[in-house]
């Protein structure tokens, strides 16, 4: 045991007397291992963030978007195409289908929202009265508007929590008048804070009745989104099919492939995001693998140099009775010390990267968790050790094979 400690001690002295060279040698390992740590940390964080927010989006909901689109690709509206065939009448018909609990239609726009001397450039969204139930999003002050108010296009508004903070940091907003694009609305409620979810954030919105948004603020009849809440997760698929049939009939579409809308379930989005994170992980893993291989070749290279530099030492050790396996073990151990130290530095760098990711992503407003799973550290140490052994074997064998007489006379 002690002889291995002595070899480790000498290897460490060697590393510290040649810090720059040792560091450059370890760089590949450091980059490789830090990417492994960062991949796993960021991967797990993204997984829980995305899964969490998709779940809160509701796995028992369906979404109808205007325009045909690939099942998992971006909607047509993402390319700036405006399709006006989806209407609130479609939503009313969907509501009559079995398993459907509530249906909410949406239309949004942006503009200037003013209260007194305060003004914000922001979004308003027109929704139908079942919004609270469909989205599991409740008012915490005042109330939401009723079906009657929605149908009558009443000028009432419900504020998202951030919008409330911006316009009414100190005063009670209930009963106050705000101006949205120069139209006056009365504030009747404030919604609880929900945080941003995927692409949507209702916290910085003003919510008004759909009909008011269409008639007073925007001047058109179509909707940009219909959200449907069904009774159980199991009825999502069958309801999706029925909605498609219904809309194909209502929109008088002859060929299914010419649909002017698309219906999506959240579980699909979950699959999409899972495959995106998986692809990203593979990409980062490839980078990690390449740097680890490059790092390993660096180890072989440096160990060959070390063997050459210490040829005389090897000859002397053999003259004093070292067997080939003693010499082999010594140089393998030295390579191992080098790669494991590289691995430890890589873990530190990787944790550093994950901390930076944590701060950046949180700064961007997401509720990101900082996780460095223990297994990623164990795996990293294992990988570094394995690289030391794999890439140290060739130089160690070279050392073990040296002829003592030739080695001891080596200049």
């Amino acid at each position: 045991m002690k002889k291995y400690l002595l070899i480790i001690k000498l290897a460490l002295i060697g590393i510290f007397t040649n810090k720059v060279r040792a560091f450059l040698t370890m760089l590949g390992i450091i980059i490789g291992v830090s990417s492994v740590i960062a991949i796993i940390s960021i991967g797990e964080g993204a997984q829980s963030l995305i899964t969490g927010s998709i779940k809160s989006f509701g796995t028992d909901t369906l979404t109808v978007l205007p325009g045909a689109s690939d099942e998992s690709g971006p909607p047509a509206s993402a390319f700036g195409i405006v399709i006006t065939t989806l209407t609130n009448d479609d939503a009313k018909e969907i509501e009559k289908l079995p398993h459907v609990l509530t249906v909410t239609s949406y239309i949004s726009g942006n503009g200037e929202i003013v209260y007194g001397s305060r003004s914000v450039l922001g979004n308003f969204t027109g929704v139908t009265a079942d919004y609270e139930t469909t989205e599991n999003h409740d008012v915490i002050e005042g109330r939401f508007f009723t079906k009657q108010e929605e149908r009558a296009a009443n000028r009432v508004a419900v504020l998202g929590s951030e919008m409330k903070e911006e316009l009414f940091p100190l005063t009670n907003p209930l009963g106050q008048k705000v101006r949205i694009n120069d139209q006056t609305f009365t504030v009747i409620g404030v919604l609880e804070s929900k945080g941003s979810q995927l692409a949507r954030n209702f916290d910085n919105q003003v919510i008004v009745p759909l009909s008011a948004a269409q008639k007073i603020l925007l001047g058109f009849q179509h909707v940009s989104l219909i959200r449907i809440k069904v009774d159980t997760e199991e009825s999502v698929e069958v309801t999706k099919k029925r909605i498609e049939d219904l809309l194909i009939y209502r929109h008088e579409i002859k060929d299914r492939d010419d649909k002017d809308f698309s219906v999506r379930a959240v579980s699909q989005a979950l699959d999409t995001f899972n495959s995106i994170t998986l692809a990203l992980s593979f990409f980062l893993a490839a980078i990690a693998a390449i740097s680890l291989i490059v790092g390993g070749i660096g180890i072989t290279n440096i160990m060959l140099m070390v063997v050459k530099e210490r040829t005389r030492e090897i000859g002397l050790r053999k003259a004093l009775g070292a067997k080939p396996f003693h010499i082999k073990n010594q140089f393998l151990l030295e390579a191992l010390v080098l790669t494991v130290i590289g691995g430890i530095l890589g873990i530190l760098a990787g944790v550093g990267l994950s901390v930076i990711a944590y701060f950046v992503i949180n700064y961007m407003g997401y509720d990101w968790e900082f996780v460095v799973p223990l297994y990623s550290i164990v795996v990293s140490i294992g990988i570094s050790g394995a690289i030391g052994i794999i890439f140290g074997t060739y130089p160690a064998n070279k050392a073990a094979e040296l002829n003592p007489i030739v080695a001891i006379r080596y200049e």
Binding site: I13, G14, R317, A319, L320, G321, K323, P324, I408
Partner: protein, 221 residues
Amino acid sequence: MALIELKNVCKSYYSGSLETKAVCSANLKIKSGEFIAIMGPSGSGKSTLMNIMGFLDVPTRGRYYFENKKVTSFDEDSLAEIRNKKVGFVFQFFYLLPRMTALDNVKIPMIYADVKDKEQDKRARKALKQVGLGHRMKNRPNELSGGEQQRVAIARALTNNPKIIFADEPTGNLDSVSAKEIMKIFEKLNKEGKTIILVTHDSKTASYAKRKIRLKDGLIQ
């Protein structure tokens, strides 16, 4: 009974078809407890002969018996084991490992003999005291004089209690005072029963030996 017996031992080097006979037809018997000086001009084959007897080199022809066992049929691990347990080497250029203390240098042969840590420490200290270096155990080679370094090397050669000590020009790099001190140590070790085989071309150094073997062009005269 001879400790070492060489029968018609030759060592040739080839470069292309050109043969250099470093040692040729060497017949030699050495008994336990002898003090021998191998002498001869540069290139006469002294080191080659010593390396063969010290199990560092293998002859190209002839037979070598050590304690009546035929060495020429040993494999690499057995040769390492004999080098470790039966012989000690002292070289002209000391060959101490620069990053280790004198004490750690002396311990190297015991590491390969699987000697327990405590025992290693005890024996290394004893050997260093034996060569008069009890006060410099924690120094590194670059903090020691040439004569002191050579004494560390002798201590290192002694730790596994070998039968024979081979010394190739041990005083070749030392001033006359240090050389004398080193030779006194060898003389004392010989009195205590060690067989000593010394390579030198200096007659003053050789005068400590009891028997002289002269080499010329690879041939024992």
